[in-house]
Symmetry: C2
Subunit: 410 residues, 2 copies
């Protein structure tokens, strides 16, 4: 008997018929002799509708009340799903994040899971029930307040719950078939990956692959819970995300991200403490800085560039201008028309030629590289947004992921 | 500084603009120097929409999950109202029934309030905040399950909260101006009552006046919390429901109720235990019996008639037929076309002529009386449903409530 955690996103429970289809799948998994915990998001666009209702009522910021409002969404979907599963002859009960023991910090709208005390989940399983847990929500034990986990929160709930319960697998049901070697909308012959390692998935997620959020992959990695990303519309296998033991591909996938902008501070004096003077105020302002590149110093001055999400552009510019003035730097530039293109693969560690080949592919197509950043298993280049899709297609054709260096050497 | 509990029904918070209007009223009450606790229902028809969604998903009965589903409704309205009040510059926070300490029994869908532990409500008031409490919902401390209070539940929440907090008044905001001497849709010159006693209001509610449910009036009476029933659309005074000290009117109002049916068991042997043998199985089946009339015995046999809600008619008939067989009684009749017409007034105690005058008014109009039932301050007659509105109009004209016997004797 396996213990399986299944997570269904909003599209999968978007209307009454889809809820019934999910119920049939859950019931079948239970009847096959497994213990099942289901984590569910709010139905379809219901969260957006609640946000819009709040905007009609108030122009202000009310993080606590917003969490109270939005947590109504999963309450509806989980109760309906419990009814539909019971109609299949399987005992089921729904639990809010608070009832399921999802304990978080106090940060309304972007809370982090601190601990899990899934006593009532375990009781339900012991009684032979399917237990449905509201995704995306928790409770702060310090303030006794209801919190939400922010973007990707339901995945995080599922993986954290799987970790606490020592589940055999955490299945993430979604509207795509799995993790692909590139975005299939951009690269028509992108291939579905059968498996990918946690560290590669982390890099892919950071590089813009939208299937899984980094935080849930990080949970899976830390507690070694295999994730199975699969479609809620058919029974086919998806992509397994897990600790890998066999040899890894040099290039597992090509990802791109068009949600960021680039800020450049020019003519920064090259002395100790300069980077801190720039990035500490950005951090204090809650701005999520992604890539940072500092050029080699010339004449005692250098340029520092960094990327931030589009939504933070205005604030990042203001903070950077303030820091530039303090530092006696030159002007601050904003480039909104950029894209980040990344090549990811764990086998890259033993194949140092990947980065050079990536630069060469882009150069041949006359695509200029504005920034470069690397990790041991990733190379990312910032390019003109208009050239991003072409770059992805060329790199996918050149590396043909999942590219196995052992095969090429034969 | 007074402590005021305000309760707003679903119509009063039916859309964004109405929520803002309620927020303005709440903020004004707070700014006038009062402590304010607000109890709120789900928005407009949202409860009906959730019920219909559940019917699309499942044909079964799932009381626990139904409560989980429906309690999403007040969560939405209370969070939105908190935002709107905060926009008025008044600190506000919303609390679920569970957070507000509304402790109930375990009966899903029709739970009774057992105790109130409004610790967080009191903390909020002490911090100078408006505290918004979800109506209609609570938590069973025995099972830790979320419960709902059934029909009129939000009123019950408000009055129970007012009792626990020793509030100065519990204001019930609604879409009518107050309690009337008769239904204004039937009697155009019905008058709004300035005040009415708890016991009269209990009788009026039992007799079909829909403004307040009996349970909330009973709470008010038991803890002596004055209720002020008033319109949420204007500032005019409504009707005060309270313990009365001055002389009471002989007839305060005329009420009618067309939601019941009459069941008659014929030729019941007249011996001890017969009534118990009929009404115990009805009670065991959860059927709410209202009037019971047993005629004088003739030849050792009698007829027993009783009224039940329309929705219970089929089950009541089946139970009565079973009991009739056991008892060796005759047939069982069902009359679906009845109405109950009642005259209510606390002054009736010292004016025994009211019942006789009521029968005379009905007789003059050739309206046949099928059943009669009385309390010290009420006379109810069951008549043909087609004659109900005529009967109400004639009785209202004859008694001219609020009819003061002292004036007539002058």
């Amino acid at each position: 008997m396996a213990l399986i955690v299944q997570k269904y996103g909003g599209t999968s429970v978007g209307d009454a018929d889809r809820i019934k289809a999910v119920a049939a799948r859950v019931a079948a998994t239970h009847k096959a002799g497994n213990q099942v915990v289901v984590v569910v998001s709010a139905m379809g666009h219901s969260t957006d509708e609640l946000i819009s209702l709040a905007a009609d009522v108030s122009g202000g910021r009310h993080p606590r009340e917003m969490d109270m409002l939005l947590t109504a969404g999963e309450r509806i979907s989980m109760a309906l799903l419990a009814m539909a599963i019971r109609d299949q002859g399987v005992e089921a009960m729904s639990l809010t994040g608070s009832q399921a023991g999802i304990l978080t910090d106090q940060s309304h709208g972007a809370a982090k899971i601190r601990d899990i005390r899934a006593i009532r989940v375990q009781e339900g399983l012991d009684l032979g029930r399917v237990v449905i847990v509201a995704g995306f929500q928790g409770v702060s034990p310090d303030t006794k307040e209801i919190t939400t986990l922010g973007r990707g929160g339901s995945d995080a709930t599922a993986v954290a719950m799987a970790a606490f319960l020592h589940a055999d697998v955490c299945e993430i049901y979604t509207d795509v078939d799995g993790v692909y070697t590139a975005d299939p909308r951009v690269v028509p012959d992108a291939r579905k990956l059968d498996e990918v390692s946690f560290e590669e998935m982390l890099e892919l997620a950071a590089a813009g692959a939208g299937v899984l959020m980094m935080r849930s992959v990080e949970f899976g990695r830390r507690f070694n819970i295999p994730l199975h990303v699969r479609s809620s519309f058919h029974d086919g296998e998806g992509t397994w995300v897990k600790e890998k033991t066999m040899e890894s591909a040099a290039v597992t996938g090509v990802a791109h991200d068009t949600t960021e902008v680039k800020v450049t501070v020019q003519d920064v004096p090259d002395r100790p403490g300069v980077a801190a003077a720039l990035f500490e105020p950005l951090s204090d302002a809650g701005i999520n800085v992604d890539m940072i590149v500092q050029n080699t110093s010339q004449d005692g001055h250098t340029d520092i560039s960094f990327t931030v999400p589009h939504s933070d552009a205005g604030e990042a510019l203001a903070v950077a201008r303030g820091a530039a003035e303090t530092l006696g730097a030159g002007g601050v530039d904003l480039d909104e028309h950029i894209a980040k293109v990344s090549v990811v693969g764990a086998g890259m560690r033993s194949h140092p030629g990947i980065a050079a080949r990536m630069f060469s592919v882009l150069a041949t197509a006359d695509i200029n590289i504005a920034m470069i950043s690397t990790s041991p298993i990733r190379v990312s280049c910032v390019v003109d947004a208009a050239k991003a899709e072409e770059a992805v297609r060329l790199l996918h054709a050149a590396f043909d992921p999942p590219f196995d260096p052992m095969e090429e050497s034969r």
